[in-house]
């Protein structure tokens, strides 16, 4: 495995996320934890791939890795490893830190022992997220030292050195990344892989229990640590001033991915500027920043999302009585919305430096193109569940949904996603809707989401007897983020056998009296089950069990089994279009002369279309490899 090569000095191409994993290996990582979430997933998946390859050979990878139940548990597991003197890393997507924030905020009071890196993968432009919150605020909110890499190589170095920083300050370090770092490949220079520490030892200390009297002592200690952190920030190699050409009063302050766009433009446009490149962005080095402000007449601040550097620079300018002109978000040159690119930064620079934007205004095709939104895969069992639900439920039914592939039920013709906030919100909002309306309510969540955050609202439904139908779409994996295991699978992130927890056992334990367990591929039976659940007064849970078709077909291929695709008998087909208009499998299309055909390249062989066809015109064709 290339990522495990112990050849210091060698350059290899790595994804930003893989580079973070490599950085942890070069720092002698002991414990890594996560709950998967785009754009962070490949950090943890890389740990898992490495661990599994060792497990296969009956060897120890030198670290422990787990896909935890949720981000809060992930942070707690890793924090405990740190309390025991081990090096730990926890990675999650930005909204994951909301889940983990209860632990995070007080963890900073308590402090850590072994180095601990907490990776937040933010998602400007919401490429795969429900919001684009800027988690740099968490570093300011909780007083956490923060590193913000610009390139994969820097991400690796910040991870590696971040462990030392964390141990020096006895504080977890927030490594704040964005999609355009996580999902960019670049060359990185390998350094030596360090041996892990093995078993740690937990030293008891009354300061680890922040009862009010202790917490009041912890807070000033934390502030003192941040003063120490600022001294480190002043000297950090990640904070630097770069002169381009002959600077003539213009300065640029930037961090993260924005730095790349700035550098390319100032070089291409032959600008004479000085650049303050901040890599350790909390606490920012105020002495360095103030000197920089003093040396400039105009300062441009380039940072995606919130004006976090901008506001701090402005405060400092005020403090030193500087009259420097500041261009940024409040001046209207940059937006608080979405991710930046060369075009956006060039547009702002062209106004400030008075040059013609080198990039052409975007052309758009004169032909109207059909959109290609993500859709449920051909053969996805969620489609069958949704088809059955729509048969069973009255039109006014409300469908609270959740985070996972099944959110794609939002699209027509299913339209089974009416309300969404966050992980687990389907069942919580279902309870509220039952109080607030007389409408029927059928909510949806996946099995991984059920374990993550879906259980407490079910308890609420049972305790208060809310009249809701809560559906768990149990496809035995965390499908959306790349098929990671969860408490309902019989293996774990290390590739070891794990105890499988059945959704129905948990639901029974929660006190739910009406439980329906269905195979959604049996559409008629599933429809009947939803009808019964709707009739039941009080909370009912429908567990719709069928493995993700992609996983199932992968396993079949590995076993050498064939997948039979389906075809439509053109003699029998009456063109009723139920398979297209109501079932809407992407593999079913119009062929020549308005005939309806199944694209065998796309067909995954679930056979549900054969079930729903009223004229028996669909049947298995032949096996495809």
């Amino acid at each position: 495995m290339e990522i495990l090569e112990d050849k210091p000095g060698k350059q290899i191409l790595l994804l930003g996320n893989e580079a973070i994993t490599r950085g942890a290996l070069e720092a002698g990582i002991d414990v890594a934890t996560t709950y998967p979430g785009t754009p962070s997933s490949e950090i943890a998946d890389t740990f898992s791939i490495i661990a599994k390859s060792f497990t296969k050979q009956n060897k120890d990878p030198g670290f422990y890795f787990e896909y935890s139940t949720n981000e809060k548990v992930a942070l707690e597991v890793a924090a405990a490893a740190s309390f025991s003197g081990l090096r730990a890393l926890t990675c999650m997507k930005h909204v994951g830190l909301n889940v983990a924030s209860d632990a995070f905020m007080t963890y900073l009071y308590v402090g850590c022992r072994g180095g601990h890196i907490i990776v937040s993968a933010d998602d400007p432009s919401c490429h795969s997220s429900q919001n684009e919150q800027d988690n740099r605020y968490f570093a300011l909110f909780g007083s956490a030292p923060m590193l913000e890499p610009s390139t994969p190589d820097e991400a690796k170095e910040m991870t590696r050195i971040g462990f030392d920083l964390s141990e020096e300050l006895k504080l977890p370090v927030l490594l704040r990344t964005t999609t355009r770092l996580n999902h960019v490949r670049g060359s990185i220079e390998l350094k030596k892989i360090q041996k892990s520490r093995g078993k740690g030892h937990f030293e008891k200390d009354t300061m680890l229990v922040p009862v009010p009297a202790i917490a009041r002592l912890q807070h000033p200690i934390l502030l003192k640590k941040m003063q120490q952190a600022e001294k480190i920030s002043e000297k950090s190699k990640f904070n630097k001033i770069i002169d381009i050409g002959k600077p003539d009063g213009y300065g640029i302050v930037t961090s993260g991915v924005s730095y790349n766009y700035v550098m390319e433009l100032v070089n291409d446009m032959n600008l004479n500027v000085k650049i303050l490149k901040l890599g350790m962005t909390h606490p920012i080095p105020s002495k360095m920043c103030k000197e920089f402000i003093k040396s400039c007449k105009n300062i441009i601040i380039v940072e995606e999302l919130e004006p976090i550097l901008e506001n701090q620079i402005k405060v400092m300018a005020y403090d030193i009585g500087s009259s420097v002109k500041i261009y940024g978000k409040s001046s209207g040159h940059f937006s608080r919305l979405y991710e930046y690119n060369l075009d956006i930064v060039a547009d702002a620079f062209s106004k400030i430096f008075k040059f013609k934007n080198p990039f052409t205004t975007p052309k758009e095709s004169k032909i109207k193109l059909p959109s290609r939104p993500p859709s449920l895969c051909p053969g996805c069992p969620h489609r069958a569940t949704y088809y059955a639900v729509k048969k069973a439920a009255p039109k006014t039914t409300i469908y609270p949904t959740d985070i996972g592939c099944y959110t794609l039920g939002k699209a027509p013709p299913y339209e089974t996603a009416d309300l969404l906030l966050c992980m687990g919100s389907n069942a919580g909002t279902a309870c509220g809707l039952a109080i607030a309306t007389d409408q029927k309510i059928i909510s949806f969540m996946g099995d991984s989401t059920f374990f993550h955050a879906g259980i407490p609202p079910i308890l609420d439904a049972v305790h208060h007897n809310h009249d809701v139908v809560i559906t768990v779409l149990d496809n035995r994996t965390t499908a959306m983020t790349g098929h990671q295991p969860h408490p309902g699978t019989d293996f774990d992130g290390m590739g070891r056998h794990a105890k499988r927890i059945l959704v129905e056992d948990v639901v029974k334990g929660c006190g739910v009296k009406h439980i329906e367990i269905v195979d959604p591929n049996k559409i008629k039976e599933t429809t009947e089950a939803f009808k019964r659940a709707l009739e039941f007064k009080g909370p009912s849970v429908v567990i719709s069990k069928s493995p993700c078709i992609l996983l199932e077909n992968r396993d079949k291929r590995r076993r050498g089994e064939q997948i039979s695709v389906y075809e439509i008998d053109q003699e029998k087909c009456q063109k009723c279009k139920i398979c297209i208009n109501h079932f809407a499998c992407p593999a079913i299309n119009y062929g020549e002369d308005e005939s309806i055909v199944i694209d065998e390249q796309q067909c995954n062989g679930c056979g549900n279309c054969a079930d729903i066809c009223p004229f028996d015109s669909i049947s298995p064709k032949e096996a495809k490899k």
């Binding site: 490429h127 390139t151 690119n341 095709s365 208009n581």
Partner: protein
């Protein structure tokens, strides 16, 4: 913008777009050229629109800027048009001629444009090469090698800052050994389709 090579690779999820971009990035590194590969993929495993930026040479921004692509490589015709903002009149546009119909079209919500009009429109934005990558891939042994056919075509288009041999070597190092012959055929097949133009 000298000393830079900007390649945009687009297509539909599941067609090997990201793999192709990754291979191109590895080849650049092998040729000791600075490179960034950026993936933009949506939520679903399959079926969505995918595009990747591969930037080589004197670059630091990971995304291709509007109007600066040296080549747009598309595994589906309308996906080339969807990302046409990256093109300028010198851009080489290589597209597979085989359409993948979005479900928005199959359920009748939207229309797939007439294919010849798509090709005609593409010629307004750059130098167009149409190839039947599905056929070439099938001839090589499997449709799954279509992305390699596309890379072969790109290698023949004289835009890459390194020799086509380096790209082929990288492909052969990346794929499992039992599929080496098939991928070599696919690459060479793609290469020939452009050289014939």
């Amino acid at each position: 913008m000298k000393d830079k090579t900007n390649i945009v690779i687009t297509g539909v999820g599941g067609q090997g777009v990201i793999t192709a971009a990754n291979i191109l990035g590895k080849a650049a590194l092998k040729a000791k050229i600075n490179v960034f590969v950026s993936e933009v993929h949506g939520m679903a495993q399959r079926g969505g629109s995918v595009n990747c930026s591969v930037r080589m040479g004197n670059v630091s921004g990971p995304l291709v800027a509007d109007g600066t692509a040296h080549a747009i490589l598309s595994t589906e015709p309308i996906e080339a048009l969807r990302y046409i903002k990256y093109s300028n009149k010198n851009t080489i546009i290589i597209t597979d001629i085989n359409s993948v119909i979005p479900f928005t079209v199959s359920v009748g919500m939207e229309e797939y444009p007439e294919i010849e009009s798509v090709f005609k429109e593409l010629t307004n934005y750059g130098k167009l090469f149409k190839i039947d990558a599905v056929k070439t891939a099938r001839d090589a042994g499997a449709i799954i090698t279509k992305n390699i056919v596309m890379l072969g075509a790109l290698a023949a288009a004289d835009v890459l800052p390194f020799k086509s041999e380096i790209l082929l070597e990288t492909i052969l190092e990346t794929v499992p050994s039992k599929f080496k012959d098939m991928n070599k055929k696919a690459f060479e097949g793609g290469f020939k389709t452009i050289k014939k133009h």
